[in-house]
């Protein structure tokens, strides 16, 4: 299973906090996961997840570019951070 989390503005725009996706061949890497979410949820998700400044993290580490996924991974999508 892949746990997918959405935070802050992205969570609100998708109206979704968390998805649990059964592990499968179409989740081999981060781009494949994004592709599947967009196919399943349609144009609005494609627009939100396609935002240029969106940050993706795998197992709580920020990833730049694509990366392989494995069963049990946790993936998160969020906007640039604004703490402090």
């Amino acid at each position: 299973m892949i746990k997918v989390l959405f935070f802050a503005r992205i969570r609100e725009e998708l109206d979704c906090r968390q998805l649990d996706l059964p592990w499968g061949n179409d989740l081999v890497d981060l781009d494949a996961l994004s592709g599947r979410l967009c196919r399943e949820h349609g144009e609005h998700w494609e627009k939100v997840l396609g935002q240029q400044n969106i940050i993706r993290a795998v197992n709580q580490k920020v990833v730049t570019g694509n990366t392989a996924l494995a069963d049990g991974d946790e993936v998160a999508f969020f906007p640039p951070v604004t703490g402090g």
Binding site: F7, E12, Q60, K61, F78, V81, G83, G84
Partner: protein
Amino acid sequence: MSLSVKVQEADFDPAELQRSLLAGGQAEGAVVTFTGYVRASNEQRTIERMELEHYPGMTENSILAILQQAAERWGVLAASVVHRVGVLRTGDQIVWVGVAAAHREAAFSACEFTMDYLKTRAPFWKKEVGPQGDHWVEHRAQDTERAQRWGRSSE
């Protein structure tokens, strides 16, 4: 070396945090602390309250990684970060950073480095709520520039 990170809804007492930062250490010649507050306005918008969201787990680990970097770079003896989440109001304390070192140069630099990196690395998001409605705060390019002054990092 003692490093600690707390993410909490409750308010904090800077004097008490500074005392526990020292906790009997004899080598510390300098302590530098920073306290951040919720401003009454931001870019001409009036703020009634702020809602702070974070990514539990990743937040604590990313701040700890920043403190470890600071400790290695400046020979810090003890460092601590407390960051609040949830609903905050104008004038509330939001973040506290304390660094103890043998000398002031290390303590000043490590404290500033920690805040600069926290602002660009730690997964917190602020939403301002005011008379004009809700507004997710946008990341400021100047925060990234400030963090970049410290040079390339391994993370």
